[in-house]
């Protein structure tokens, strides 16, 4: 077998390969189901129904997709410049913490002001956290993969500390329940983000914000000088420096942008859905890590990120809805993983021509 780099990538490959990858992933998942004695077709039908078709399913899917869209965009923004920020997880927590804090502090202010405050605070929280690996990378060439990964744990632990082990401002200390089971303070009504309903489909503010961010990122990366610099540095950092680009500043800017987007995801968790800091729930969801694979599946295209987030979000949502004795737990993760594997394998066919010599 010989693998050669394609001189030209036919456009249809970028459509056909992902579609075939997903189809193959479904076949493989079917095998897993079949081998363990579950009827594959029936399970798929139930998943599709729970994810996209049933009454209200799509609205639930949008809720599950929103954080993935944010973390996916965060990853795409950084990965495009070969900055492997895998700290989306921690940056999302940081945005949740700062967003919730502002939401609580601004209680009593008019709603739009509170929304704006939370959005700004969430973005700032994520960006500040991302600035740490960015500075270390820019000035000491320290590998950002590892530092951003480490910070995920640090922030997760800080989050748990704030809610479970301290008398912080964010913790709910009133009432009987709170003393037995520690939890975050519930945000005031002014801090509950608006949503709009179109033909029964509920679109939360956070999801619309994610689409707006995707559009902005697309413009920034394809139409501006900034985006050009990111492209050049991502392709060859030395060429960027040679051309007089300020590579350090760009590292800082892109990492902070990436962190800010992940932080927005955290703020949206507070404003749109959870309305209180919930360390366990946030950690179990693994939004940050899943976001990276969302971005990879979308080939780092911001609009595709939103679509892929809806797909994976749909599966997650179906997993939640169908949780119970007669539906295999963990199937959703298996399917998400298989889709990813197939997409990663399929990528080879987009970039390379594979020839079989017998």
């Amino acid at each position: 077998m010989r693998i050669e780099r394609r001189l030209r990538q036919p456009w249809w490959l970028t459509v056909v390969v992902p579609v075939v990858s997903i189809a193959v992933a479904f076949v493989l998942s079917g095998f897993v189901l079949f081998l363990t004695g579950h009827p594959p077709l029936k399970s798929f039908h139930r998943i599709l129904d729970a994810a996209f078709i049933a009454n209200g399913a799509l609205s639930e899917t949008v809720i599950a997709a929103t954080p993935l869209a944010f973390t996916g965009l965060a990853a795409a923004v950084a990965f495009r410049m070969n900055l492997f920020n895998i700290g989306g997880e921690g940056q999302l927590y940081a945005g949740a913490i700062t967003g919730a804090a502002i939401g609580l502090l601004m209680a009593g202010s008019p709603s739009p002001l509170v929304f704006a405050g939370m959005i700004a605070a969430g973005a700032a929280g994520g960006a500040l956290l991302a600035a740490i690996p960015a500075l270390l990378r820019a000035f000491f060439s320290t590998n950002e993969i590892i530092t951003s990964l480490m910070l995920n744990y640090v922030v997760a632990l800080v989050l748990e500390y704030l809610i479970f082990d301290s008398h912080s401002y964010l913790r709910d200390t009133s009432g009987f329940e709170a003393s037995v089971f520690p939890q975050g303070k519930t945000l005031p009504d002014e801090a509950t983000w608006s949503s709009w309903t179109i033909h029964g489909l509920v679109l939360p503010l956070g999801f619309l914000l994610a689409i707006a961010v995707a559009t902005l990122v697309w413009v920034l990366y394809t139409r501006t000088r900034f985006g050009f610099e990111v492209q050049v540095i991502g392709d060859s950092a030395r060429a960027g420096r040679y051309a007089g680009m300020r590579t350090r500043r760009k590292i800082l800017a892109v990492m902070c942008l990436s962190g800010a987007i992940a932080g927005l995801g955290g703020a949206s968790q507070m404003g749109d859905f959870r309305h209180q800091l919930d360390p366990q729930g946030l950690r179990q969801a693994n939004y940050g890590y899943t976001g990276i694979v969302v971005a990879a599946l979308a080939r780092y295209n911001p609009f595709a990120v939103v679509l892929v987030a809806l797909l994976l979000g749909g599966l997650t949502n179906a997993g939640f809805t169908l949780q119970g004795a007669d539906f295999p737990a963990g199937l959703v993760g298996v399917m998400q993983g298989l889709i990813l594997f197939c997409a990663l394998g399929g990528e080879l066919f987009v970039r390379y021509r594979v020839r079989f010599a017998w």
Binding site: R225, Q231, D235, S236, A239, Y242, G244
Partner: protein
């Protein structure tokens, strides 16, 4: 692409056989087939009377073929001994446990026998380029290679070091080993080889005994026509004001020790100054310091009378410094980006290409089409990624971009490396054109012939300092060679 098209040649035991050809003639591809890195599509390799088929470097090594690559294949954190024993499956290398002592003493013995002085316990990154080459040869000898292929081995050596290498080669041949010596330098081939096979455009055109050949006849075979050799026509344009002044410049190398030491040099508008020297004597670092990619630790760089603070490429660019880097693909262009993007790699900040923060794609396309037409870049369009261009076309893109910035100074580092004769001539004519329009050109090259062919003055670098300057019209190769080896002094 067919890099080798029906190459026939044979070499006997104990023979030094040269493969001669200009760059791009297919010498390297041929040797990579002989060492199992590539597989031939057609034809066969016969070794000691047996047809062999190599599917991996392991097969070639087992068959007794070893190669010293142009870009060394060494593991830099390893010691010399560890590099030598790597992958070995015979003798002390076969034991499951590493027998450090035994390997070291074996390496010492070999280096004594063939005059390849190097400390077996030293780590590769601590060694000079010349020493690293010795390690590569030791590797081959340790493997007890019957056939040794040396790919352009003298490119990194002074003429004197090259002479020492020839001694080693003769000693190896006297042992009954076959040495295949790949080069494009006629006089070297003449000096060391028994027979010469000349390659042209991937084909073998002739095999002749070295004793019967003259540099002139070899050159004719190599290029396919008579080659005019000689110096730059003595007609010189008037030189103008000093455009680049270096005053006691120091700069650190990648390892944090000074690589450029107290260099002072002046270049006037309209002249071409060559910097000669063996690779690794600070030329690359000097170029990078001038263009701002490396900070100045002491001294001053002035462009058109304006002092640069150093370490900032953008400052140098706006002062009028253009740069053709040695590493074309990777520094000179962003390989994955389109030709159009690479043409505006520096201009993207300025007004016709961008307005405010936004890029203007129409302008970029027009600019790219213009360059492709004017410089005759062979490509299917401006959106083709740069890595798909051939070396010569890529260099045209780089030169076009650098000239478009209206520079006062052009720093060109090994601008013809890896190009074929036509490409080299194009580059040379562009450099001359630049000089004739008043640009001061600093040409860094390891190829003395190239420098003597187009430069007005030659400065020789040795261990980070300029050990002397000569007029290119009167300097001799011998004199410059001595200076490159550090024997020269100001006078």
């Amino acid at each position: 692409m067919v890099a080798n098209d029906h190459v026939d040649f044979d070499a006997a035991e104990g023979e030094v056989h040269a493969l001669l050809g200009e760059n791009g003639a297919g010498k390297t591809t041929l040797s990579k087939m002989l060492t199992g890195l590539y597989r031939p599509d057609e034809g066969e390799i016969v070794l000691f009377g047996r047809t062999v088929e190599f599917s991996s470097p392991r097969d070639a090594l087992d068959a007794g073929i070893a190669m010293v690559h142009q870009h060394f294949k060494l593991v830099s954190p390893f010691t010399v001994a560890e590099n030598v024993v790597l992958g070995d499956q015979r003798d002390v290398g076969r034991s499951f446990l590493l027998r450090q002592r035994a390997i070291e003493s074996r390496v010492e013995e070999l280096s004594r026998r063939y005059g390849l002085a190097v400390d077996p316990r030293a780590r590769i990154w601590q060694l000079s380029v010349g020493e690293q080459q010795r390690v590569e040869i030791l590797k081959a000898l340790y493997q007890d290679a019957r056939i040794l292929i040396l790919d352009e081995p003298t490119a990194v050596l002074t003429p004197q070091e090259a002479e020492a290498l020839f001694e080693t080669i003769r000693a190896m041949a006297a042992d009954g080993r076959t040495v295949i010596f790949i080069s494009h330098k006629l006089h070297e081939v003449k000096a060391v080889a028994d027979r010469v096979t000349v390659l042209r455009r991937g084909k073998s055109v002739a095999t002749v005994p070295a004793a019967d050949a003259t540099p002139r006849s070899l050159a004719a075979l190599m290029v396919g026509r008579e080659l005019e050799t000689g110096r730059r026509s003595t007609e010189r344009g008037p030189t103008g004001e000093a455009v680049l002044e270096l005053d006691g410049v120091w700069a650190d190398g990648d390892r944090g020790v000074a690589a450029v030491k107290d260099v002072s040099l002046t270049i006037r508008g309209g002249e071409i100054v060559g910097v000669a020297g063996v690779a690794g004597n600070g030329q690359r670092e000097l170029a990078e310091t001038i263009v701002g990619m490396r900070p100045v630790t002491r001294g001053a760089v002035q462009v058109c009378g304006r002092r640069l603070s150093g370490g900032d490429p953008r400052e140098a660019i706006s002062a009028g410094v253009a740069y053709v880097p040695e590493d074309r693909l990777g520094t000179g262009v962003a390989p994955g980006l389109s030709i159009a993007s690479n043409i505006v790699l520096k201009a993207y900040r300025r007004s016709p290409v961008s307005s405010g923060p936004m890029l203007r794609f129409g302008r970029i396309r027009d600019l790219a089409r213009g360059v492709i037409d004017r410089y005759d870049v062979r490509t299917s369009g401006p959106n083709v990624p740069a890595w798909q261009l051939s070396g010569g076309n890529l260099q045209k893109v780089v030169l076009a971009r650098e000239f478009s910035g209206d520079p006062a100074v052009l720093v060109a580092a090994s601008p013809t490396r890896g190009l074929d004769v036509a490409g080299i001539e194009t580059v040379h004519s562009y450099l001359r054109d630049a000089a004739s329009t008043g640009v001061g050109v600093l040409l860094i090259s390891e190829d003395l012939d190239e420098i003597l062919a187009i430069a007005d003055r030659v400065a020789v670098m040795y261990e980070g300092t300029v050990v002397g300057e000569r007029d290119a019209g009167t300097a001799t190769v011998e004199e410059l060679g001595l200076m490159m080896a550090g024997a020269g002094s100001e006078d």
